[in-house]
């Protein structure tokens, strides 16, 4: 569009009642649910994108599928199950909790517990190994000299 006619149109729009743009989606509330669910589903032809983010044809088709199912009253769980039946667990970005993924979901907690336990063990061992004793008079004198700024040659 040429700039001048656009400006004229714009100015006339300012003079008349400005139209409030309609949402793209027929039902914005439903669309929010669609997007939320779609962002958990993987676009299978993309390099790691959800079907909410992707412009691919398959992504658009699957979004349409999600929208229709939610509109027809299906729950989000049912939509996910639908996708998994046809594409496998791979299509879920939120990995299901089952035996194979037990280590995945429990892992962080287990790692934390193990790390804290290892830390305690190391600290206990350390306590036993470190021998802390008072400074001897010579060592005290040496420390005093060093702190007062007198350097000493590195051995």
């Amino acid at each position: 569009m040429k700039l001048l006619p656009a400006l004229i149109l714009a100015m006339s729009a300012m003079l008349t009642e400005a139209a409030d743009a309609p949402p793209v989606a027929e039902d914005p509330v439903l669309e929010k649910r669609v997007i939320r669910l779609a962002s958990e589903l993987r676009c299978l032809v993309c390099q790691n994108q959800s079907i909410a983010d992707s412009n691919a044809d398959l992504a658009a088709d699957l979004r349409r599928q999600v929208r229709e199912m939610l509109k027809a009253g299906k729950t989000e769980e049912e939509v996910r199950a639908f996708m998994v039946q046809r594409y496998g667990d791979f299509v879920l970005y939120n990995p299901p909790v089952k035996t194979a993924t037990a280590l995945l979901w429990a892992g962080p907690f287990v790692l934390l517990v193990v790390a804290v336990a290892a830390l305690f063990l190391a600290l206990m061992r350390r306590r036993a190994q470190i021998d802390e004793r008072e400074l001897t008079p010579e060592e005290r004198e040496r420390a005093r000299t060093l702190l007062a700024g007198g350097g000493e040659k590195r051995p």
């Binding site: 149109l9 714009a10 729009a13 409030d20 983010d53 194979a100 962080p108 306590r127």
Partner: protein, 662 residues
């Protein structure tokens, strides 16, 4: 000629690297001074040669030499010159050359700034870095030669991916690689210490500034990448837990643990073996990242085109480097002594807890990133692990770490007590709790998540202020002048810490507020239509056709109003790049201190109507602002006079304990 010159430079650089590795390392083992002295000039020569090679490749790109395969595959004559330059590192081969350039740059820097280090140590450090260099140079020369010729030359190139035709491409990879590669210095310091047997507070003091600088670059590099994704991809997202993003985040997490661990080793001589292990792990994660991006093992939007041969080469290299370092560690670390004793409640313990949480977080990210591979390899099925998983596990791990960040700096070295800490922090905690509870109400919406996020950020800030005030008043009580007059006396390292921690608070605030309060509308607009988002009105004043240097675009002219007053004009574009015929969304962003306005064009709906996405994102720039503050804090810390070599006699030490706790 130029490509051949570049190729030849690389071969010579490889030869020098072999000398730089062989002679100094052997010399350090045998006490042969002449051999050890080869290290510095060799490092400098290597840098010059690699820079020459890089220059040759860049020259070929800028001058549209389509007889070079890399140029023909990644550039085009209608590409603006700065993107032709950036295309030098836009491919697998070119980015490898960038990697090696960075490595030789760090090597050269070490060779120049190491007068105060013993020769044997310098020899070992540069020798180890040379070994890494050999690996990458061999990899390039054997499997990924950027100077390969295309004969007959192509009439024109296939163009740089339009997503990469952006200022972000010019700066993000160099920054990121400076970080990745910079950790090779900490790695080399650690290996040198294990080889030489000298692993003490002095060693920590030497390696600390190098490690912190690498961390700064990595922080800035990751932040730039995130910001770039935000404004480039047109969806307003800024972190996707993509495998390649995770590959950069893991060394950042362990690198953060490392700079804190080094602090303890420097000041108290403790954690020595642990610090060395952390340095090895961090650089290993950098190398692992290189593997993951280029081997085809994981799917990612960032991955380069892959080739099994390359994957095998890198894996073998990983096994050699990391395997050897970890073996060396297993052999030598038991002999490394322990530092001083410290109590269960002490600054050392707080820092150890910080390390544990960061390491577990890094391990969790690795678990999530590699789990699909584990299952597939064991034939247990194919799953995807995406943002829902990472967000569920990451925040619970980091929240305690952020909480500890408020306590650690106040805790005394060696021994502190909980009641004493609680007393000193009670006001900070109270202020944080009250503000976090009330602030969301004034902003319009209260949810537990928002309140919690704000609580963490406010706690960090308040405890930082409490810490600073405490030190100033202690100096004031000892010296007699007003507290604020002592601001100049506190060391830069301390301010660096405060600033970096404050940066974390800013980051957490940004994330919390944008998640909690952002609003968006997807609308169908024709000229004249307007829509209300976030208290602003956006009106589509018109659509124009635009011709760019290598693309055609439709540009929307969107007027922005607050009430009756026009606050600005935003111009989102939908571009089609000529060569690759790829449509691209250029979002229009009105950046502000307290909010971003984000407008992007979706699809044309016919009849002059377009899908327009309008977002109001409060405080989103605090996310990257916080990261940059972290980086700035690191730079402040590195510029502490402790590290400046031209230091003369010791300055007068105030009697108060405050200043001595530097």
């Amino acid at each position: 000629m130029t490509p051949e010159l570049g190729h030849f430079s690389l071969i010579v650089a490889l030869t020098i690297a072999c000398l730089q590795a062989g002679l100094p390392l052997a010399g350090a083992a045998r006490g042969n001074v002449a051999w050890m002295q080869v290290a510095r000039p060799a490092a400098q020569a290597q840098f010059l040669l690699v820079a020459l090679a890089f220059g040759c490749l860049a020259w070929s790109f800028v001058n549209n030499d389509f007889s070079v395969l890399n140029v023909a595959s990644n550039s085009n004559s209608s590409l603006p010159w700065y993107y032709r330059l950036a295309a030098t590192w836009g491919s697998h081969e070119g980015s490898l050359l960038l990697w090696v350039l960075m490595l030789s740059g760090w090597m050269c820097a070490v060779s120049l700034a190491s007068r105060h280090l013993p020769l044997a140590m310098v020899a070992r450090i540069l020798g180890v870095m040379a070994l890494i260099s050999i690996g990458f140079l061999l990899f390039m020369l054997l499997t990924s030669n950027p100077f390969e010729r295309l004969l007959p030359p192509a009439p024109d190139g296939r163009d740089l991916n339009p997503l990469l035709q952006d200022p972000g491409m010019v700066i993000h990879p160099p920054m990121l690689y400076m970080g990745y590669v910079g950790f090779s210095v900490a790695f080399a310091f650690s290996i040198a210490a294990l080889l030489g047997g000298q692993l003490d507070a002095t060693w920590a003091r030497w390696s600390r500034p190098w490690t912190t600088m690498a961390w700064v670059f990595l922080t800035v590099g990751i932040a730039l990448g995130s910001w770039w994704a935000y404004y480039e991809l047109g969806w307003g997202g800024w972190w996707f837990w993509d495998p390649v993003e995770n590959a950069s985040f893991m060394p950042w997490l362990t690198g953060t643990a490392l700079i804190h661990s080094l602090a303890v080793t420097e000041k108290r001589g403790g954690f020595r073996a642990w610090t060395v292990l952390l340095a090895i792990i961090t650089f290993s994660l950098s190398l692992l990242g290189t593997f993951l991006v280029r081997s085809g093992v994981l799917t990612s939007v960032h991955a380069f085109a892959t080739d099994p041969a390359r994957g095998i080469f890198i894996l073998v290299f990983l096994v050699l480097v990391i395997g050897a370092s970890l073996s060396l560690f297993a052999w030598r670390a038991p002999r490394v002594g322990l530092g001083g004793q410290f109590g269960l409640v002490s600054r050392e313990s707080a820092l150890l807890a910080n390390n544990v949480l960061l390491l577990v977080a890094a391990a969790t990210v690795m678990l999530g990133t590699l789990y699909p591979l584990f299952l597939d390899a064991l034939n247990l099925g194919k799953i995807s692990v995406g943002p829902p998983y990472f967000e569920a596990v990451f925040v619970p791990l980091m929240a305690p770490a952020v909480f500890l960040m408020g306590i650690g700096p106040l805790a005394k070295w060696k021994q502190a007590t909980l009641p004493e800490l609680a007393v000193r922090l009670r006001w900070a905690l109270a202020v944080a709790l009250v503000t976090a509870a009330l602030l969301p109400l004034t902003l319009g919406k209260w949810t537990p998540m928002i309140a919690f996020g704000l609580l963490l950020a406010l706690w960090l800030t308040a405890s930082g202020v409490a810490n600073l005030w405490e030190r100033l008043t202690q100096l004031s009580m000892a010296g007699g002048a007003a507290p604020l007059s002592y601001l100049k006396q506190l060391p830069r390292g301390y301010y660096g810490m405060l600033l970096a921690h404050f940066g974390v608070a800013v980051f957490v605030t940004g994330v919390t507020l944008v998640r909690g309060y952002e609003t968006e509308k997807d609308v169908r607009m024709v000229t004249g239509d307007s829509v209300e988002v976030g208290g602003y009105r956006f009106r589509l004043d018109g659509l124009v056709g635009v011709k760019g240097p290598n693309y055609d675009a439709t540009r929307g002219i969107v007027g922005v109003f607050k009430g009756e007053r026009r606050t600005g004009t935003m111009q989102p574009e939908k571009r089609i790049y000529h060569v690759q015929q790829m449509p691209m969304t250029e979002a229009a962003i009105d950046t502000g201190f307290t909010r971003d306005l984000y407008v992007s064009l979706g699809e044309p709906l016919g009849g002059g109507a377009w899908v327009v996405r309008v977002y109001h994102k409060p405080f989103v720039d605090w996310i990257w602002g916080g990261a940059f503050l972290m980086g700035l804090g690191g730079i402040l810390a590195v510029s502490d006079r402790r590290y400046r070599l031209a230091r003369r006699a010791a300055q007068a030490i105030p009697a108060a304990a405050g200043a001595a706790r530097a």
